[in-house]
Amino acid sequence: MKSDYSTPLDVDAIRADFPILHQEVRPGVPLVYLDNAASSQKPLAVIETISDYYSRYNANVHRGIHKLSEAATDAYESARRRIQAFINAASFREIIFTRNTTESINLVAQSWGRSNLEPGDLIVSTEMEHHSNIVPWQMLAGQTGAVLKFVPIAEGGILDLDVYHQLLEEGPKLVTFTEMSNVMGTIPPAREMIEAAHAVGAVVHVDGAQSVPHMPVDVQALDADFLSFSSHKMCGPTGVGVLYGKREILEAMPPFLGGGDMIKRVELGQSQWNDLPYKFEAGTPAIGEVIGLGAAVDYLGAIGMDKVHQHEQAVTKYALDRLSEVGGVRVLGPEDVSIKGGAVAMVLDCAHPHDVAQVLDHHGIATRAGHHCAMPLHQHCNVVASTRASFYLYNTFEEVDRLIDGLYKVKELFAR
């Protein structure tokens, strides 16, 4: 069955790196983890890097004149440079550590947005976005009087680029869109979209929460002005995210949060901001987690993001083909894996997405059910919710078979 679907990865070897995968959720029922778009699992190298930090050289960074603090600062700043390399940013100063994608986007909205937008200015987002790429802009629109418009989803779960180009003609100040839908897996033509937006003078923010973990992303090739992503979705720990921003844009932005580390000098009447990236990193950062994310990009980089992407395409293709056999399953979004990442959201005729997930869980298969923080997208699809299986580098064709078997059990139970 899987002979048609070839992967460049030695998945058995990769699975051996992830302690969590080798467990039974109930006696005799091994775990099949297909909830990767929500959060990925972590290789031992990352887990041990974090333990090692707390066991050997934990200390606050940047200001310490002692061995532990120097070691912690070195490791923290070295992680920044490896993350810079991972997305090919031009300078370490363009890598700002936040809590997650959501905070990165809020930083752009509040710092760049509040200081650059005036009443009536246009912000363009899309209907395909995660709530984290909608709500901060709604809030910003409320605060500034800017107007927020959305590129609709067209037939086949792709963005309606005709409307996109029409909206660009209205001269938006900011364009923001996801490089990979967390529900339908859709990969829009980001480079072309950015070029077109730049041609009308817009600044472009790219939501990389799903793309950066799953495919090669080169911010200079993309020419994105901002890119946001989360550690926890790319083999790294929770509690840390990244905002990439072009240096000259970041330089001109006011700080987001105030406090220790982001200042050069504080007097009672006023303060003087620190250099990039520290201007945007107020207070003690997520030191251990940044160092953990450094280990994660080392891990992914050693495997190669192109191979990760190819593997996921193969597994996704296999899943789509097998799903089409089941019957009564509607898959949301594109079916062409050249424009689709490893997120497969589906709706069954016979059962509600929650019930599907619950029955699958009973068989050890972890999927996610609900709106996946993308209510407008689901509204567009005319469903309240979906069940989503999402793949990562450690998922196998056999696990897809387990998913399909599980769906047959769902049908058995509900289609009576």
Binding site: H352, H354, D355, H362, G370, F414
Partner: protein, 131 residues
């Protein structure tokens, strides 16, 4: 598998009782479970003695949320608002009779939450009133 969805739950899910929207209604309230998009809209007609005369509800969602609404709302007619006030989280869970994880608990209790919010303005999830 047996205890995952009992027969009675599947029955209420597939054949919900008291479906419909009353107009006019003395109590008319709708809410979602934000976690998953379950939706329940309850309408009640109440007589001058504060007793439920008629029930109608609409909703979308999973088997647990819809079966729980059907099973719970079916019992309301001829109950007084005072009696209804005493219905608690445990009554609903007993009615369903299956083990529920915290997320599914919200599915199970949405019907009760809508009832309590519509009838008494309570906004907390049943069982969490005392936070």
């Amino acid at each position: 598998m047996d205890d995952l969805y009992r027969e009675i739950i599947l029955d209420h899910y597939q054949n919900p009782r008291k479906k419909g929207k009353l107009e006019p209604a003395d109590i008319d309230y709708a809410e979602d479970n934000p976690v998953c998009g379950d939706h329940i809209h309850l309408t009640l007609q109440i007589d001058e003695n504060d007793v439920v005369k008629a029930v109608g509800w609409e909703g979308e969602g999973c088997a647990i949320s819809q079966a729980s609404a059907s099973m719970l709302y079916e019992t309301l007619v001829s109950k007084s608002l005072d009696e209804i006030r005493t219905i608690g989280k445990d009554d609903v869970l007993e009615m369903l009779g299956i083990p529920l994880s915290p997320v599914r608990l919200k599915c199970a209790l949405l019907s009760l939450k809508v009832l309590k919010a519509g009838a008494y303005g309570l906004t907390a999830w049943p069982g969490e009133e005392e936070d």
